[in-house]
Symmetry: C2
Subunit: 324 residues, 2 copies
Amino acid sequence: MIIDLVNKIVNGDFKAISKAISIIENNYSESEELIRKIYPYTGKSYKIGITGPPGAGKSTIVFQLTKLLRREGAKVGIIAVDPTSPFTGGSLLGDRVRMNELSLDGGVFIRSMATRGSLGGLSKRADEAGDILDSAGFDYIIFETVGVGQSELDVVKVADTIVVVLVPESGDSIQAMKAGLMEIADIFVLNKSDREGADVAVNSIKSVLSFRQKLDQWEINVIKTIASSGQGVDELLNEIKKHRDFLFRTGEFYKRRKDKLKFKIKEIIEERLRKNFWTIEREKILDEKISSLELPKANPFEIAEELIENFYQKNFLNETKSFH
Amino acid sequence: MIIDLVNKIVNGDFKAISKAISIIENNYSESEELIRKIYPYTGKSYKIGITGPPGAGKSTIVFQLTKLLRREGAKVGIIAVDPTSPFTGGSLLGDRVRMNELSLDGGVFIRSMATRGSLGGLSKRADEAGDILDSAGFDYIIFETVGVGQSELDVVKVADTIVVVLVPESGDSIQAMKAGLMEIADIFVLNKSDREGADVAVNSIKSVLSFRQKLDQWEINVIKTIASSGQGVDELLNEIKKHRDFLFRTGEFYKRRKDKLKFKIKEIIEERLRKNFWTIEREKILDEKISSLELPKANPFEIAEELIENFYQKNFLNETKSFH
């Protein structure tokens, strides 16, 4: 079953890609086998992350970028994990309709992913959805996510080039700084740059950037755009390509990818340990303990330790055979 | 050392409380011992969670609520984990100054916590900061957090009564629904209710609520406020107390607190397992594997499994003695 799905994905079948992402999103039992099988086909896509505060025009930027990339003949996959994005059902229906038009030619795949109920697994699932698109032969994968909230921000960190979109509103750049956006940006976009205060905003971003510790030789630029008309988006695409060339030239590309692989391995391990630990039997022990205890005297640490002891003892008796 | 700190906290010493929260926030090695020792003194505070989109006026609501509670002689602890909140350094400095004035009488403690770099531990740390304030004898603890982002939303779930603050802006209630705010609210506040569209907004919230599955007998009301002038905040406080009475009368209070205890135990276990797993030695094995491998051929699952096997084998050899 999974092997059929993998074959279809690798051949670029949109239906199969959709199905695969649903399997990952819902964390069905087949999801691990799927990712395992797909993994050897990954590593060819270039990943772009687009983030910024709600209302900055991220989706319109994604739309215009995609249009330019399509003109070059590139295949583009889009993963939107932004609860405020039109792609995930927000209010700017116009963008959504236009984007769906783009996808009619078969060169664009768009998928929105739910951001709630994820318990910290959001970035892992978005990353895996990216792996599916990667193995399906998309040249570029764009991750769009709102720059508020730690788990949302983690999503964009899987990208090779991270673009932070801001608008000339006052205090915006300060908020961005506080939210950690300043630290992750490879490129800044000041969108809606025909609005009042645009030059002030550019200068304020630049002055914050001047305090940022330079970790590498890459110089972070601020690109002015008016995404609604497409103005400046060609310049943004050039800047993204310049950054890509920089990453390859300096070897930074592989270094970053290895860092991400390490993070991924840690996630797999923690998920596995959690699964091994929370057997039906051990869940039952916990439920029984909790229903019989008296608040507020209960000490969560003691209960936790009893369960951990039980875990290691079972493991000792069964040796390691039941753990993978 | 820790026992001295605990004694000071229990006696309501603000400096000691501050120090304790810093220990938790930075996850210093003493943090677990601290929480263990403080735990027997907890369970007396009533916890209120205030959430909603950026700009809804959450901080002003918190300020006005605190003022009313102080008039009743209640001690109030505030934990703000909102990157857009003035308490955490946002733009509305006025609120911050006013709030600091409130705290001069010794009956109000305010603490903001960083939201970034937390890797999923944000709600755990906020909860533990709440335990510190609880043991220090605060009657009410208010958690303020922005209603965007999963980890931010998890913070508010530690509260007994959850208040969702919205404003009359169009689409706001729909966004709230998408972000999962509709599901967690015990009370709604429509702030800035003198603005155009207030009644439409109230009706739209009510109509969404009418579709919500009733899990208990509590009827969710929408309270109209103008927080800047304090209007409606007394009504909100009454509604919070009505909800508290409801929780006690129906036994729901202890049921919810037990659910939270269960969640806490699970968090402790997972943190412990992670610590046991990631010894310096095992980190080193991972780093060596990663530096020697070839991208994109590397399979993260295989590396993860090797490390897990190593973990269980060590555990087998050492029996359980080194794990707590």
